[in-house]
């Protein structure tokens, strides 16, 4: 099926093309940000940094 876009085809194709690019950049940024944050959480937790570990250390240090 071919779509006839008439004499202003360039404007129509540019509008759809730019929309696609903007949305792909937005989606790509969200996906990459998710991977980055997951990696950073995993790195910190692999070093033993968790909220529970800090509480345990604080309790161990406390004389009571």
């Amino acid at each position: 099926m071919s779509i006839e876009l008439g004499p202003h085809a360039n404007f129509i194709l540019a509008a759809y093309g730019i929309t696609l690019v903007v949305l792909l950049v937005l989606i790509g940024w969200i996906v990459l940000d998710y991977r980055s944050q997951r990696r950073r959480v995993a790195e910190l937790e692999s070093q033993g940094i968790t909220r529970r570990s800090v509480q345990a250390k604080a309790e161990a240090k406390s004389p009571a």
Binding site: I3, E4, H8, I12, V31, Y34, R40, T50, R51
Partner: protein, 246 residues
């Protein structure tokens, strides 16, 4: 599950993990259906094939205002109810709203050139949408300027509520002032002034864009919760580091 249960970030993360695959599937289906219907829509008797730009321009314009509305409700959540996820929701929505507003401005410009003979005029509708875009950038900049998320959240919430004044100005600018932009033709008293062969693809694309926003918003909120988790873990790491006084 009650809304208050989602106040727990860990519970929200678990829910987001379960919901996102379905939301992505639904969004892709709706976008495919919208584009299929849009490709088969007839040309407008005056505007010819350029009416196809409407199928992305109008939904993005609606979303640009809807997202600011979502941010305004979230701002109330931050300032009034102090909901733990309110400023997460507001911060996550801002870049998505900015993207939809940019699409609205660019596609409107590309539609305006063949129809009006110009890419841009400083009339009320176009200028108020440009102001909305600048406000999105301002809120994003404010979030990035203040390091403490809770302080940034309160400042951004105030700016968001002040900026909400612009939304009715955008909506009714075409009625209040003389403008090149056409008046409302879908949401108006007396019903839509558009033929169903064009209205149905337009509304399908609007639903698809709304689903896209919802999906991206949930994903971006998940990222923001993880970012705050990283921040709190870094602070804890600094506390337990040798030589720290904590």
């Amino acid at each position: 599950m009650a809304l208050i249960d989602l106040a727990n970030p860990s519970r929200f993360l678990a829910l987001a993990e379960r919901l996102l695959p379905y939301l992505i599937g639904l969004t892709v289906f709706a976008l495919a259906a919208g584009l299929y219907l849009a490709s088969g829509a007839p040309d407008d008797y005056q505007q010819g094939a350029t009416v196809k730009i409407m199928f992305i321009h109008v939904p993005s314009a609606w979303l640009s205002m809807l997202v600011w509305g979502v941010m305004s409700v979230a701002a109330l959540g931050t300032l009034v109810w102090r909901h733990p996820l309110a400023d997460v929701a507001a911060k996550a929505a801002a870049p998505i709203g900015a993207a939809f507003t940019l699409i609205c401005l660019v596609t409107g410009s590309l539609w305006g050139r063949p129809m009006w003979g110009t890419y841009w005029v400083w009339d009320a509708r176009l200028t108020s949408v440009l102001v909305l875009f600048l406000m999105y950038l301002g809120v994003i900049a404010l979030w990035r300027t203040v390091d403490d998320p809770s302080r940034a959240g309160r400042a951004a919430a105030i700016l968001t509520l002040v900026g909400a004044i612009n939304i009715p100005i955008i909506k009714w600018s075409v009625d209040w002032w003389n403008t090149l932009h056409q008046p409302a033709s879908v949401v108006k008293l007396g019903g839509p002034a558009i033929h169903p062969t064009i209205l149905v693809p337009l509304l399908t694309m609007a639903v698809a864009f709304a689903l896209l926003f919802f999906t991206l918003h949930v994903a971006a909120m998940r990222n923001e919760i993880l970012r705050r988790r990283v921040r709190s873990l870094m602070l804890l790491k600094a506390q337990i580091a040798p030589g720290s006084e904590a």
